[in-house]
């Protein structure tokens, strides 16, 4: 038998969860940025900023779960794993888009933020002692000439990554809060 599709709109839940987690993600991203700017470069690829960055991503992954919880509470319905996944992935993409917009708006608050962050990254590159001066200069030139291209590509990958992470937590949410017993035999 075809499963009965839940037709009630999930947009209210998605917008609510993505706004909450978009703001959290943005605040933590900016906070990490200032932490990097205000601390001396380590030259290591696995410094505290990388660990904080991973933690920020993990926090933002729970937006999908919150959206599913809200949807289930709002309509008191049983939802499938698939519906949870859809709500999760849409929430994740919205979190990515919102945080991208917020970070750009932050440039009006602190116009030097991006350039200071880039300078710090260049200083970190210089602190890597296994790179030759020529190699370092090449990367620095690349960062200056193609900085905006890298920023856009980076934002697209961040948004996709948040979509995938929230897809998973959306499915977990569907199972935890009101998931029907799925037929799990492949």
């Amino acid at each position: 038998m075809e499963p009965v599709e839940e037709k009630r709109s999930f947009w209210a839940s998605v917008i609510l969860a993505s706004l909450i987690f978009g703001v959290i993600y943005f605040a933590m991203t900016i906070g990490t940025g200032y932490y990097v700017i205000n601390n001396p470069p380590t030259g290591s690829g696995l410094g505290p900023s990388s660990i904080i960055g991973t933690f920020v991503c993990l926090i933002a992954a729970f937006g999908g779960m919150l959206a599913v919880w809200h949807y289930v509470q709002l309509y008191d319905v049983t939802i499938t794993l698939g519906k949870g996944a859809v709500i999760g992935v849409v929430t994740g993409i919205f979190i990515g888009i919102l945080s991208f917009i917020f970070v750009h708006l932050w440039e009006y608050v602190d116009p030097n933020y991006t350039s200071r962050l880039m300078d710090t990254q260049i200083a970190m590159m210089n602190a890597k002692n296994h790179m030759s001066a020529q190699e370092r200069q090449k990367i620095v030139d690349m960062m200056h000439s193609r900085g905006s291209m890298f920023k856009i590509i980076g934002s697209i990958f961040t948004t996709l990554g948040l979509g995938i992470l929230n897809l998973i937590t959306g499915m977990i949410g569907a199972k935890m809060f009101k998931g029907e017993k799925p037929e799990e035999t492949f």
């Binding site: 075809e2 794993l81 090449k138 193609r146 291209m149 996709l160 492949f186």
Partner: protein, 314 residues
């Protein structure tokens, strides 16, 4: 009409997949897996390359550095091939388990062979060779689209690396394995197997053929060759759909890539000068190519219609 034909595509009679039973929309599974497999392929490919380089040199290399890329391109190719086999190939086989009815993974992907397919494979090989000047024309047209200089520089760097690898490497069979055999199998399983057949079940064959071709073009991240790659993807999708088997498309893909490798080995000067899309191919070649490949395509469709099931048998 055979029993298979009667059952294929009717919602009432066909068995539901795990994906359908659990309310997963088709677009999420298809596009989700394309993105996830691509990211995993890139990440794991890079990690394998780094581990191999570390094993060989004893220190970690920065792969963003072009001179390192050049020096260890052979090992980077091994990483790339490993990523393709693990995620585009084997990963797709696993994901197909959730999209296909129980126990029908291979027939869903189009792993079907009988005597008629043998004849179609022969036609496919001739078709893919005959169509090359037309593909060259498409590359030239694509090159007329303006791109930012920084992006063109990135593609030039990729071309230079490939050129160095092909001209510096004397192991033709190993190169054929990495550049032709593995992509022909893995990319076909993903695009003409999983993507084509999953989209076809929900949105119909036209959407399936067009979307699988366009996504195949985009997946290569070479925007200066997007049009020829997408058209090639659409042609391969039609071959897979009309023959009801993924095998002719696999052979066509292999022949297409292998031809480039062999030309690069045998005639390096010709390969690396004329392959540039900035020159228009001689129009007589293009005209002949369109006529001959059009005729071969027509024969292929006619032969397929004679013997075939018109797609997946699930």
């Amino acid at each position: 009409m055979t029993e298979i034909e009667k059952n294929a595509g009717t919602n009432e009679s066909r068995q539901l997949s795990w994906m359908e039973r659990n309310g997963f929309p088709m677009w999420l599974v298809v596009f989700g897996w394309i993105i996830i497999s691509f990211i995993l392929f890139q990440v794991v490919g890079s990690v394998v390359s780094l581990v191999l380089i570390y094993y060989k040199t004893g220190h970690i290399m920065d792969l963003a550095n072009t001179s390192n890329l050049k020096k260890y391109l052979g090992l980077i190719f091994i990483g790339n091939t490993t990523g393709q086999i693990l995620f585009l190939g084997l990963g797709t086989l696993l994901v197909t388990k959730i999209a296909a009815p129980k126990g029908k993974v291979f027939s869903y992907l189009g792993f079907h062979y009988d005597k008629s397919i043998g004849r179609l494979i022969l036609l496919t090989i001739l078709l893919i060779l005959a169509i090359q000047p037309f593909i060259w024309l498409l590359s030239w047209l694509n090159a007329l689209i303006p791109f930012p200089q920084s992006y063109l520089h990135f593609e030039d760097m990729q071309d230079k690396l490939l050129q160095d690898f092909l001209s510096g490497n004397k192991q033709v069979y190993w190169t054929l394995f990495n550049v032709a055999l593995v992509p022909a199998f893995c990319e076909e399983v993903l695009y003409r197997g999983f993507v084509l057949n999953t989209i076809k079940r929900k949105w119909g064959v036209t959407a399936a053929v067009l979307l699988s071709g366009i996504i195949f073009g985009l997946y290569h991240i070479r925007f200066t060759e997007l049009i020829p790659l997408a058209i090639l993807g659409i042609i391969l999708a039609i071959l897979a759909w009309k023959s009801g088997s993924i095998i002719p498309a696999m052979v066509a893909h292999f022949v297409n890539n292998a031809t480039s490798v062999i030309i690069a080995f045998k005639f390096p000067n010709y390969a690396f000068s004329s392959s540039t899309a900035n020159s228009m191919p001689p129009l007589i070649y293009v005209a002949l190519s369109i006529i001959v490949s059009g005729y071969l395509f027509y024969i292929f469709i006619k032969e397929s219609n004679k013997s075939i099931k018109g797609g997946i048998n699930v």
